[in-house]
């Protein structure tokens, strides 16, 4: 149910809508009721950090772009999302901001549900990333602008990949000399192929939410932003 609500909200989220929101905030930290918000303070334990880098479609880094971080709430126009911070990119295209629990905490939110809005130098919104629950305290966003335009799809290049894989096993058989292989090695390899395709692949990618894949399955056919979001673990040593 909650998913349904969030979904519709994302769809209806238009840039002009955002500009209106933005003029409300006007770069200042306010809570949803219009009161000023404490942004810093609190102990370093509860501080969150967002880092990242923005480049244009030719992979050149961009300077002076505005990055705003929001906490996505179950809000409406009258109850807008919390602004967690905003910052401009430096000459390397990088940005960094920190915020504490106070910036987003309310009756519902225990963890921020962070998304970024990137505006170019003229204030035009170029990207709004999607939100994500259960983040770590160190978030890294790598963003490439103007990505993922939809182009005519042509032939689906992925549709016969399974057949190709099977053919590859056959060819691997021809490249092997049956008198040289060690039976245990061959058995282990076959087991790995089976395990890789069944248990491991599903476990990691489907069940455990492997976080490396960040583009849609058919990138040419589906509008998407070039955004990589890492919820980074803390380097503990």
């Amino acid at each position: 149910m909650i998913y349904e609500i969030r979904h519709t909200r994302q769809d209806s989220f238009k840039p002009q809508n955002l500009t209106m929101l933005d003029s409300n905030f006007n770069g200042m930290m306010k809570d949803r009721f219009g009161g000023s918000k404490r942004v810093s303070s609190s102990s370093s334990e509860s501080r969150y950090r967002i880092t990242g880098r923005i480049r244009d479609r030719d992979n050149r880094t961009v300077e002076g772009y505005t990055v705003q971080a929001f906490d996505e709430d179950l809000g409406s126009r009258l109850n807008p999302d919390d602004l967690l911070g905003d910052v401009k990119t430096d000459k390397n295209g990088t940005f960094e901001m920190t915020f504490s629990k106070d910036a987003f905490e309310d009756w519902f939110d225990l963890d921020p549900d962070v998304y970024l809005v990137v505006k170019d130098r003229s204030g035009r919104v170029t990207i709004r990333t999607t939100g994500k629950k259960n983040t770590t305290k160190l978030m890294d966003f790598q963003i490439k602008l103007d990505g993922g335009e939809i182009r005519p799809p042509g032939r689906d290049p992925y549709k016969d990949s399974l057949l190709l894989m099977i053919r590859a096993l056959r060819d691997a058989g021809d490249a092997a000399d049956p008198f040289k292989g060690d039976a245990k090695v061959i058995f282990e390899l076959l087991m790995r192929v089976v395990a890789g395709w069944t248990v491991n692949r599903d476990e990691l990618v489907k069940l455990r939410g492997y976080d490396s894949i960040q583009v849609p399955k058919n990138p040419r056919g589906q509008k998407h932003h070039h955004v990589i979001r890492w919820d980074k673990p803390i380097y503990r040593i």
Binding site: L164, D174, E188, N200, R208, P233
Partner: protein, 839 residues
């Protein structure tokens, strides 16, 4: 003019792309095979210098937008054999790209310039490249590829584990890597192609630039496998290739006529192509190095998330060639793999993938000796034979030990290795068991290799090397090999920059000496490509097109054949032994379209025919004779203006029932014409029946039994056993057409005797019988039961003719009296066949 061509249906490409819809006959100054780190640089530099260049790439053309970060879909698109590319004992997985851009599309973007020790070592071995040349080339390549050292914030926790581990174990010779990546997004999936195109692979750099320069003339053929380099003496005249569909079936043919051919397909494929073309026999394939790399994974109680960020950004140089170790040695490099690949690296049982986020991984890059070999399998595909020696195993053991210590030192709860007998170490005390297992039982050590090098060694001595210091194949004036396969020894570091630098140097040298190559005039050949010069290779659709578009260049007088039906060499018949082409003026041999459907094939074998013409007073008379009949249909040729086709030659028949039909002929050159048969109406009102071709010039693949007998008796010779070693394919000869391959066999030497072995279906090899010699005839053992004698004679080094004779063999007995693949002469019944060497 410049552009990419391929058989895949692709849309919305950054470069100009066109779908290939038929055979291609190309002509260029330079033909390059392979579009990887070497081929792309060569294509760029030669085309920008004004040469017309054709580049052949077996893989497909894919861009960032196609790369969807999923192993199971990207491995088939980008990796050679979907990643299942092994040595012949299946112990070493060799990672190679097979796509436009080659391995540069799927590598980790690590760039090292060639170490000084290696430069010196290679110079001693005959590589004539000075330090200055290397340096200039390295700088040029680094600039083009935007090579920069990684920033501190790009070194992820996995790489930091190596950094800290190296320091903790007391080794200071360590440093961040340089990468050819602009503003890396750090998705960590370099192995699956860069979706964001931040990785500066060859397609987005060298090829993109060359394709978009208005002055360049670069045509790239993707989905095309180069199958043969053709040459006469020491002069190469071109390359033949097959366009392949997704499943690897041949859909069209390619022939490139070129002044210079450069093989840059990578160690294994380059060697394979040379071996298949019988170039540098006995030398090509020797001295392969692989940089075999065992890996060691540490399982930590805290999260590493090695998948986040660039996988390979840090190296420990302490024991490597980059730190002055001149014999062997190893580097330790961080590495991480996408899920399916990681799962192939981990033991199958034990649920180890669950701990994926807690693993730190590093590999040992061993600088091995040139101890491997590439050879051809019975089916003609490449096989790699590689056994690590004591030196290599020692380096692997030391490197693995070191990484294992680093991981335990930093709190790993267990260590996973690539040795099957000791795949999990629970504590540092177990490390000696691992090193012992690596040294003592290397058969169960699984290795990865991403850097196959060597095989076509560069050197001054033609007896021990394949190419000279300029990259030119010894004994050839215009054939080059330029890729990692010419490295005389392993380079010891990730080789892409060295490969590109070498290609820079070689292409500069070719450009400087271009006049020399421009003066070469190698003969133009047509391969097996459908064209107006040899329409017998065309399918119906294309034949119709050719027929409709072409004009009859000659009148009916050209049709007249020799008055003699017997072969008189040099008068009405000749044989070009270099191109294996027959010219036969005794009659015009008839051909149908080359479609594979049963109807057309049936026509070819049952209704194969010839037409013969002679002068009779003021007119040209002729006859049409299907080989397997008593029919000689008399006809007369007249010049005629046919509506829609202009001036053509009309062939009208005199007798019933042939009178119901007529043919119109377009004579496209003196020895070739395309005809259309009509029926049920007088000209021009007849209905189309079929297209056909008549030719006085055809390849030996279309020889008749008369041609066979004449060549067998007059143009073929006895041979030395050493000349026939390799794999041969046999096809039966009938007048209308030669059969598909009926069997394959391999000749080999064993204890000084020539032996032969049959290859059944390309999988099983059986037999192993000794072959005896008797005067100039070779007697081969019988394969049809009763001892019959097969005589084989050699025409050229890859073409032989054979005859199996004797009336009392059961099979020949059955065939006796039948027509087709049988010759009946004074010796009785004989089965003629041709042998083509394929490996």
């Amino acid at each position: 003019m410049s552009g990419i061509y391929g058989v895949e249906d692709l849309w919305g490409r950054q470069e100009s792309y066109q779908i290939v819809e038929g055979d291609v006959l190309e002509e260029a100054d330079v033909c390059i095979i392979g579009s990887g780190a070497a081929g792309s640089v060569l294509a760029n530099k030669l085309s920008l210098a004004g040469r017309s260049v054709v580049l052949i790439e077996k893989g497909g053309y894919f861009e960032g937008d196609d790369m969807n970060q999923r192993d199971e879909e990207m491995l088939p698109l980008l990796w050679k054999n979907c990643g299942a590319n092994f040595t012949d004992d299946l112990r070493i997985a060799i990672a190679q790209g097979s796509c436009l851009g080659g391995s540069t599309v799927i590598n980790d973007a690590v760039c090292f310039s060639i170490p000084s020790i290696v430069k010196r070592e290679w110079r001693k071995l005959g590589v004539g490249i000075s330090d200055e040349e290397w340096q200039a080339a390295n700088m040029e390549v680094s600039e083009r590829l935007n090579v920069t050292e990684v920033r501190d914030d790009e070194i992820n926790i996995n790489n930091n584990m190596l950094k800290r581990g190296s320091t903790l174990t007391g080794y200071e010779k360590q440093s961040p890597n340089s990468r050819n990546c602009v503003s890396c997004m750090g998705c960590g999936l370099c192995h699956l192609g860069c979706h964001y195109e931040t990785k500066q692979d060859m397609r987005v750099t060298y090829l993109h630039r060359a394709l978009n320069d208005p002055k360049s003339d670069l045509r790239i053929y993707c989905n095309c496998s180069a199958e043969k380099i053709s040459y006469t003496g020491g002069v190469v005249d071109g390359v033949e290739g097959d366009f392949l569909d997704r499943m690897g079936s041949v859909v069209f043919k390619l022939r490139v006529n070129a002044r210079v051919v450069i093989v840059a397909a990578g160690s294994i494929a380059s060697t394979w192509l040379l071996q298949k073309s019988f170039i540098a026999e006995g030398r090509a394939g020797k001295g392969l190095s692989l940089h075999p790399a065992p890996f060691v994974i540490g399982d930590f109680p805290f999260e590493i998330k090695a998948n986040q960020g660039a996988p390979m950004t840090y190296t420990l140089h302490e024991f490597g060639v980059t730190n002055g170790v001149d014999d062997g040695g190893f580097l330790i490099e961080s590495v991480f793999l996408p899920p399916l690949q990681l799962s192939m690296a981990l033991p199958a049982v034990g649920g180890l993938m669950k701990r994926h986020g807690n693993y730190a991984m590093a590999g040992v890059l061993v600088r091995d000796g040139p101890i491997g070999e590439v050879y051809l399998s019975d089916l003609g595909s490449p096989r790699v034979s590689y056994r690590p020696g004591t030196k290599e195993l020692d380096a692997m053991a030391r490197g693995s030990e070191l990484i294992a210590r680093m991981w335990f030192r930093q709190g790993a709860t267990r260590v996973i290795t690539s040795h099957l007998s000791k795949s999990i170490l629970k504590s540092a005390e177990e490390i000696p068991e691992l090193t012992e297992a690596i040294r003592g039982d290397p058969g169960r050590l699984l290795l990865g290799s991403a850097h196959p090098q060597g095989g076509n060694r560069m050197g001054a001595d033609p007896r021990s090397s394949v190419v000279d210091p300029n990259g030119r194949v010894h004994g050839f004036s215009n054939l080059f090999v330029c890729d990692a396969s010419v490295f005389p020894t392993a380079v010891g570091v990730n080789p892409q920059l060295t490969v590109a630098a070498l290609a820079t140097i070689i292409s500069d040298r070719i450009n400087r000496r271009w006049e020399e190559f421009a003066s070469l005039r190698p003969p133009k050949r047509f391969g097996e490509v459908c064209s107006i010069s040899q329409p017998m290779y065309c399918k119906t659709e294309r034949l119709k097109d050719l027929f409709d578009k072409s004009k009859s260049e000659f009148g009916r007088d050209v049709l007249v054949n020799s008055s003699k039906m017997d072969i008189v060499d040099g008068e009405n018949w000749s044989f070009d032994i270099d191109d294996l082409t027959i010219w036969n003026d005794r009659y015009w041999k008839g051909f149908y379209a080359s479609d594979e459907d049963p109807l057309t094939k049936g026509l070819v074998y049952t209704l194969g025919f010839y037409k013969r013409f002679w002068r009779s007073g003021g007119s040209i008379r002729g006859e049409t004779h299907p080989y397997y009949s008593q029919i000689y249909a008399a006809n007369e040729a007249t010049d005629f203006e046919y509506p829609g086709h202009g001036d053509v030659t009309l062939l009208r028949y005199f007798d019933l029932p042939y009178r119901l039909f007529y043919d119109i002929l377009k004579i496209v050159d003196r020895d070739t014409l395309i005809g259309e048969a009509f029926g049920f109406g007088s000209p021009p009102k007849g209905k189309h029946v079929f297209y056909f071709i008549l030719s006085r010039r055809y390849k030996v693949d279309f020889m008749t039994q008369d041609d066979f007998n004449f060549i067998f008796s007059n143009k073929a010779r006895a041979f030395d056993p050493k000349e026939v070693l390799g794999v041969w394919e046999a096809r039966l000869v009938s007048d209308p057409a030669i059969s598909p391959v009926v069997f394959r066999f391999r000749y080999y030497m064993e204890g000084g005797r020539l032996m032969a072995r049959y290859i059944l279906g390309g999988v099983l090899t059986i037999g192993g019988k000794e072959v005896e010699f008797d005067d100039d005839l070779m007697r081969e053992f019988d394969f049809l039961g009763k001892a019959k004698r097969s005589e084989i004679r050699m025409v050229s080094h890859d073409f032989m003719l054979g005859k199996l004779c004797g009336a009392d063999s059961p099979l020949l007995g059955i065939l006796k009296g039948s027509k087709g693949f049988i010759i009946q002469d004074e010796k009785g019944v004989c089965l003629p066949y041709v042998l083509r060497r394929v490996g």
